[in-house]
Every structure is written in C-alpha cells, then in structure tokens.
Amino acid sequence: MDLVTKIIVICAVSALAIFALWRTGAKDATAPQQLPYLGGGTPDTHAWQRYHVRYYSMTLLFIAFEMEMMFMYPWAVVFVEEGGKAMMEMGMFLAILSIGIVYAWREGVFRWQ
C-alpha cells in the first residue's frame, strides 16, 4: 500500500522532471535535419520494419527458464528453516531445468541464428 503510493510518486516526479527537460530544446526540426544518421548516406526505407532478431530462440528459452525465479524467492525465505529438504528439492528442480539449457546449448541456441 505504502509501497504503491511511493512508487507512483517517484515515477510521477521523474516523468515530470524529464518531460520538462525534454521540452526545453524543442524547436521544429527541418526535413534535412530529420534524416537518420548514416554518416552522410541515405536509407531506402524506414528503419522500423520486421527486424530480424538473431537470438529469438534464446528469448523463448529465457521466458521458460525465468519462471523458476517465482519458485526460488519463497524457497530462499524458508531455506534455513527447512534445511536439507529444501536443498534437495531445489537441487532437483534446477537440475531438471539445467537439462533444458544443456539441450539448447547443444542445439546452438546461443549462437546468433
């Protein structure tokens, strides 16, 4: 509750500050000023396009692997209390997920496609 209010206040203050700063230099740019910088050259098309993300398989692996964080935080809180049992269970969980990483590495997911 307290957390939410304060976070919103911080976000609002920084947004206002940056907005004020951002607006100070606003003068209309002419068409030649707006050209994207390519060292003098010109582009054929807009830069916004279907960008070929070279690491897309890695991102898929990542969102599946990252889920384990959700389980690990509560685990960390009770680790000392539960002792060896907690160690075993999380060890097993991480071992299962590590298989996935090893498999992905063998498939060359971490290279750029």
């Binding site: 898929l60 959700m70 389980f71």
Partner: protein
C-alpha cells in the same frame, strides 16, 4: 476496494482479452488477448484469496501457476509462430487453414 469491485475489474480484463483473442487475425495479437485474460484471472484469484481464503497459501500457489501458464503459453506460442512463418511467410490465423497443402 471491496471484493466485488476487484472481481469486476478482473471481469472487464477478461472481457477485453476475449474480444482480442477472438477478433485478431495475427497470432501474436491473439496471444496478447490470451495474456490479458490470464491477467484478469490472476487478479480474480488474488482477490478471492485475500478476501475469502484468509491467507491460505494455496491461493498464492495458484497465482504462480497462472503465471507459469502464461510463460509456457508464450514460449510455445512464439515457437509455433516462428515455425509457421518459416514455412508460410505469414503470421495470420487464416494461413493455417491451408496448412495441409
């Protein structure tokens, strides 16, 4: 902030998500609809947990499971989109109707 208002907000999110999932032609936008529905589900679960379950940990566990479902749904969904695009150069749902050659 009563339970009813929380659940109504969740219902609104589910309604919008359903609209998105049904109406969007492209896979990725369709998945956004699904995610929005799960978002509403998450809110409903936590609302019910906080107000009717007296803090039993199963409610939180269910919320985590919903998030895991989101992650799995996204990973598999995007992998499928990639696979289909590789074959069809298209990302709209209609292209799947001709999938059988």
């Amino acid at each position: 902030m009563t339970l009813a208002t929380v659940l109504i907000v969740a219902a609104a999110l589910i309604g919008i998500g359903l609209y998105g999932a049904l109406s969007q032609q492209s896979f990725v936008m369709l998945m956004m609809g699904l995610e929005l529905m799960l978002n509403g589900g998450l809110l409903a679960v936590i609302g019910l947990w906080a107000n009717t379950m007296g803090g039993a940990p199963e409610g939180q566990l269910l919320a985590i499971i919903i998030m895991a479902v989101m992650a799995v749904d996204m990973a598999i969904g995007f992998a499928l989109v990639t696979a289909v695009y590789r074959k069809r150069q298209a990302d709209v749902t209609e292209s799947l109707t001709t999938m059988k050659h």
